[in-house]
């Protein structure tokens, strides 16, 4: 028993095949020019999101009523919106919100979807039946409708909760411009796909020889799941997160566009597009910049995700 554990440790600490694999993933990824371009764009966007609001001389909710709906000029590079706020500043702040929501939402999803998927795939039985029934029944409803339902009722719930014992929650909700509500919505409705995919992979990993070997030398279920199954699930989880980030970003923009996501005055690209839509004919510059940056960002993220998938998915290699 003790000797067996020792061998297992040694095998686990043997890093060279893992390092080799990492190198190969990186090499395949680097060869994909669109993916690298997407990565670079994303890098600039992150810089813009971090530094933009600090360096620009305006605040995102600072109105200048003498210069509303002004086209781009030397003072306001992208012009001003209907309340005389600087659009470039709002774009930078909106980039913070968009990236933050997308990354946080996907982390929440992973924290729910991966454990549930691994558990139900590994144990099978009643856990599997319950989890898969829940996934199947929710699957019937399009994601965005689930989110719309949750957000609709959440936002009217918050208006009433301000006076009650849960007022601190309501205040956090207001202070973050509805960000908390968005995350709750994502957590409720978006883990289904990940859970299903991870469960499928776990089902096939469970039958692998190394899992059998581990069980033979007396490894516990928890150890097998953590040390043998989880590391093999990681590439798939990374790919699904990479694909999920543009999805979450579009979802946030769509909900904010409908007035259900980020609440004013906090800017979000979606709500900026919605505001700009009112002035579509008289001042199109209000609309163009958020629409273009949202489209460019999701295009870059999708190319990045494609590159990651091609590099990490063994089935795609060499194609």
């Amino acid at each position: 028993m003790v000797a067996g554990e020792g061998i297992l440790e040694r095998v686990d600490q043997e890093e060279s095949p893992i390092a080799l694999e990492r190198k190969r993933v990186w090499r395949t990824f680097r060869r994909n020019r669109m993916a690298v371009a997407g990565g670079l764009f994303l890098g600039f966007l992150i810089l813009f999101a971090i530094l933009g609001p600090e360096l620009l001389p305006y605040r995102f909710d600072e109105s200048d009523f003498k210069r509303i709906t002004e086209p781009p000029s030397a003072q306001h590079w992208l012009g001003t919106d209907s309340l005389g706020r600087d659009i470039l500043t709002r774009l930078a702040y909106g980039a913070r919100i968009s990236l933050f929501v997308a990354v946080l939402a996907n982390s929440v999803i992973l924290f729910i979807g991966v454990p549930l998927g691994v558990l139900s795939g590994y144990y099978g039985g009643w856990i599997d039946i319950i989890v898969m029934r829940v996934v199947d029944t929710f699957w019937a409803l399009p994601n965005i409708m689930l989110m719309i339902a949750v957000m609709t009722f959440l936002s009217s719930w918050v208006e009433y909760a301000e006076a009650g014992p849960l007022s601190f929650l309501a205040r956090t909700y207001k202070a973050t411009g509805g960000l908390i509500g968005l995350l709750v919505g994502f957590a409720l409705g978006w883990w289904l796909g990940d859970c299903r995919v991870i469960r499928g992979l776990t089902l096939s990993l469970r039958e692998k020889q190394y899992v059998f070997a581990a069980r033979c030398i007396g490894a516990s279920d928890a150890r097998i799941m953590l040390r043998h199954i989880l590391p093999n699930v990681v590439p798939l989880a990374v790919v699904s997160m990479a694909l999920g980030i543009p999805g979450a970003m579009l979802m946030e923009a769509g909900l904010s566009f409908l007035g259900l996501g980020i609440k004013p005055p906090v800017p979000s690209w979606g709500s900026m597009i919605s505001e700009g839509n009112t002035y579509l004919l008289s001042a199109p510059h209000i609309l163009i910049s958020p629409a273009v940056i949202l489209a460019l960002t999701t295009i870059a993220l999708n190319f990045l995700a494609d590159g990651l998938r091609d590099a990490m998915d063994p089935w795609m290699r060499g194609r």
Partner: protein, 310 residues
């Protein structure tokens, strides 16, 4: 086969019940009644609120409300809208749904024609210039949501080139349909291009394609009779499953372009707290999506004999 159909139907029913229960519970736990703060109107006196609750059976115990709505819904009675005075929800659906269906069908036709053709052609000439351009367009398509697509289309086609009006609706066969249909077709077309290309590339590597070629069949026969037929089966499924994309597309496109369809009505009722309308529309959409998935599964088992009886 029948056993499969019955088993598949048994999944549909709990899904729809779950959607109903979820929305019902959400409505119940949301504080505040429907009469509380109707925007732009005077507050309603208590006695009248009481009368309204009486009329709409809101004073009944919760389980009675839950069951009686379900019972009435099964008989085609979806209740009355709170905001449009005493208008049956079923009437509202009858008035607004056809426009959305026309819009959705047109967008479906456009996206399938464009997506599948482009996908197949680019799989036939991998890494060519055409392939690279279509691949880029595919990514662009899945990255541009309907509400961004339609604003950009309005800017270019309506404001810039003056080809079509900037908003409005004169029927599916008028000029006004061009922008909404294109905007809704963008995203599904992007997915279809990518998916068709992948499927077609996979199939072209199969042994039976090599067999067909070595038999000396013409390339066109191989492509159309052997490859296309097999590659398109999963594509058909995928194209049916994207129904949700079109439903969501109608929310945005109809709202922005001012089209009197059910999508715009849905968006309006989310902000107006018109609970009977919301409940009915959620149920309607859930039923449409579930039935579509059911039909696709059945069709799939007919198209692919290997899957039958499993």
């Amino acid at each position: 086969m029948w056993a499969y159909i019955v088993r598949r139907l048994l999944i549909v029913i709990p899904s729809i019940l779950l959607v109903y229960t979820m929305i019902f519970v959400l409505i119940q736990i949301t504080p505040g009644g429907p009469w509380d703060r109707v925007a732009g109107r005077r507050p309603i006196p208590e006695e009248i609120k009481e009368r309204l609750n009486e009329t709409y059976h809101l004073n009944d115990p919760i389980h009675v409300q839950y069951l009686s709505y379900l019972w009435n819904a099964l008989h085609g009675d979806l209740g009355f809208s709170y905001h449009q005075k005493a208008r049956p929800v079923a009437d509202i659906i009858r008035d607004f749904l056809p426009v959305s269906i026309q819009l959705g069908l047109a967008a479906w036709l456009v996206s399938n024609t464009l997506g599948i053709t482009a996908g197949v052609l680019s799989a036939l000439s991998p890494n060519s210039l055409f392939d690279r351009i279509t691949s880029f367009l595919g990514v662009a398509g899945i990255s541009i949501p309907p509400f961004v697509g339609i604003t950009l289309l309005i800017l270019f086609l309506a404001r810039g080139l003056h080809l079509v009006p900037t908003a409005g609706w004169e029927g599916i066969f008028s000029r006004t349909a061009l922008i909404p249909v294109l905007a809704m077709a963008l995203m599904p077309a992007g997915w279809l291009i990518r998916y068709t290309r992948t499927m077609m590339t996979e199939v072209l590597k199969e042994d039976y394609i090599r067999t067909a070629r070595s038999k000396g069949l013409r390339e066109r026969t191989v492509t159309i009779r052997h490859a296309l037929k097999n590659a398109l089966i999963p594509v058909v499924t995928m194209s049916g499953m994207s129904l949700a994309d079109y439903i969501v597309g109608t929310f945005f496109v109809e709202t922005i372009y001012g089209i009197p369809g059910l999508g715009r009505y849905f968006v309006m009722s989310t902000s107006g707290r018109d609970y009977p309308v919301l409940l009915a529309l959620f149920l309607l959409y859930a039923i449409i999506v579930c039935l579509m998935a059911f039909l696709i599964d059945i069709a799939y088992s007919f198209l692919d004999p290997r899957l039958r009886f499993t």
